[in-house]
């Protein structure tokens, strides 16, 4: 049963990721990415990372992707602009190299000895994550707040018309 769910979510994720690249209009790419994020949330539930699955839907698919879709609609982009394709040769170099990298990675991972994920060993509850976040990872957590503050100011400065 759990294998069927895994393959369902995996196929959904890979299909949505490919669809992000195939779509001509960037708005459809963003909507397809939301499907990818949701299927990733399902995979997190299979891995017993319950809290992260919820956060993935609320923060990633909810907040960040709404920001993307908002900007795409704000700019009101034309369908697809090709035009000056001075870097078009990157496609002929990039695709074979990327597939070669994938081939090497999959071959390596395939030959590693099989390790089963022990089921129900530990559920990623908010309590466990919060305890770890506020004890072992307190300094990175505080640094994160600084990062968000800087990103906030940077976004305002960049998007402002004349400063």
């Amino acid at each position: 049963m759990i294998e069927i769910l895994f393959f369902f979510f995996a196929a959904l994720a890979v299909g949505a990721a490919i669809n992000v690249l195939v779509q001509k209009h960037v708005l459809y790419s963003a909507l397809s990415l939301i499907v990818l994020l949701s299927s990733m949330s399902g995979l997190f539930i299979l891995l017993r990372a319950d809290f992260l699955a919820v956060i993935q839907v609320i923060v990633y698919a909810g907040a960040i992707m709404v920001l993307f879709v908002f900007v795409i609609m704000l700019l009101n982009l034309p369908e697809d602009e090709d035009g000056a394709d001075r870097l078009r040769w990157l496609k002929f170099l990039g695709i074979p190299l990327g597939l070669f990298f994938l081939f090497l990675t999959v071959i390596t991972l395939w030959n590693v000895e099989r390790q089963d994920i022990v089921e129900a060993q530990m559920a990623g509850t908010p309590e466990l994550i919060g305890r770890s976040l506020f004890t072992d990872y307190l300094l990175p957590f505080e640094a994160t707040s600084l990062l968000i503050l800087i990103a906030l100011m940077g976004a305002v400065v960049f998007a402002k018309k004349d400063l």
């Binding site: 990372a49 923060v59 990633y60 900007v71 704000l74 090709d82 870097l87 990039g94 990623g124």
Partner: protein
């Protein structure tokens, strides 16, 4: 039971799709979306190892990746707006003022 390798292979496939998108697409928002795909592939690796090792640290790191992704989206989209206002295009090939 699902072996750990399957999750890692799935993450590798998603990561390569993100890299290919970064090469193929020329729209700057599509490039940002490709970066999001890559970040998600890494997140899946983190959670798979965390679940297999029985340690919560991997899931905490996914939190930090999430925060960095949010900050990157905010700053990146502000840059996109500034670029569109100045150059009337989002094609990364057209913004070649600093190019030799």
């Amino acid at each position: 039971m699902i072996p750990l390798n399957w999750y890692l292979i799935l993450a590798a496939v998603l990561f390569v799709i993100g890299v290919l998108g970064f090469f193929i697409k020329r729209n700057i928002i599509a490039l940002l979306l490709s970066v999001e795909i890559m970040l998600n592939a890494v997140n899946l690796t983190f959670v798979a190892f965390s679940s297999q090792r029985g340690q919560i640290s991997g899931q905490v790191f996914v939190f930090f990746v999430l925060v960095v992704a949010a900050a990157e989206a905010a700053v990146g989209l502000a840059l996109v707006i500034a670029m569109y206002r100045n150059r009337e295009t989002l094609n990364v090939d057209r913004s070649n003022l600093l190019k030799w």
